[in-house]
Symmetry: C2
Amino acid sequence: MKKSLDLSLYLVTDPQVAEGNSFLEVIEDAVKGGVTLVQLREKDCSSREFYDKALAIKHLLSSYDVPLIINDRLDIALAVDADGLHIGQEDIPYDVARKILGPDKIIGLSVENKTDALRANKLDIDYIGISPVFSTPTKIDTAPALGLEGSRLINSISKHPSVGIGGIHLQNAASIIASGSDGISVVSAIMMAKDPFRAAQELKQIILKAKDYE
Amino acid sequence: MKKSLDLSLYLVTDPQVAEGNSFLEVIEDAVKGGVTLVQLREKDCSSREFYDKALAIKHLLSSYDVPLIINDRLDIALAVDADGLHIGQEDIPYDVARKILGPDKIIGLSVENKTDALRANKLDIDYIGISPVFSTPTKIDTAPALGLEGSRLINSISKHPSVGIGGIHLQNAASIIASGSDGISVVSAIMMAKDPFRAAQELKQIILKAKDYE
């Protein structure tokens, strides 16, 4: 069965964490702090390392009922029976991914502009990632930053739930919710935090408060 | 149904081809020249590019009854319904790959030493790639070159059909067959040839002659 989807605080991983922290502990602390969804994103490791990391995170998340989404690599998602897959515009086409994964897995898609959003409306995806809203040091995406206006426009035409991604932190998190998104997606704001538990907790409070205003 | 496997002349692709040649034409010419198996190997492109290339090669090979094997990426193999997958020691574990691909797909495994070969004997794989036999400019593998003695040793203990890979060309192709392998695997000897048809034809003649002596 497809896991229920709470996009409020969506952590996208990066192998780099703050000095003194360990990758798996950062994820566990972040989940304890309120992260609702975790996406494992790896770009430069072997398939075996990706698989081993995915297995370890799946095991970790199973105690917290937080779904695990795999970035790009459909084979890793299948191999560890992850809850879903996130694909970008440069990844395997959506219809091929859905056919292989079946109807019970979450599939999210990055949209970088209005055209992508209109195309996404024709697809049976579970959410869109509006990417990037702000410019970011993490190379999430090479497309130009959309800004809050872009995020608002895409949310107004999209039929799917959405998260904003790219350059999101404590100071601008509420504005993403105000632009019509269901949640925020962060990388460095949590992965690079000295205290990932607190970073997640603070972001979560801001989001819940912003959602109350909506 | 699993395609029948002729390991005689196994082309492993590389995106780089000789000036004036095109990637797909090189593959087609090589197949016309006698290549019996093609492995699509991509390390630095997006999943979408890999998928598109795999689809194009699958279409091309369907007229020649030459199987298409995908290197490492199980998802691409599934997405284009390729004939098989080649995995190395740093890729998804064999048992996971077999479970996902099913019994009707070819799975090959790189072995780099005696220990790998003994472990491979316990697996229901279709062939092993003895890798690398000679040192090679193409980064097929980072393990030390095994030499003909290493190739002979691995063939003597392995229960699987094998190809040698790494630094193989016209001058040493026959020695690989003499060391007990069923075929040779080449990258640059064909991909970088000015005339890939002729390169394949010459290699094929040497292999067939060497096999007659066995």
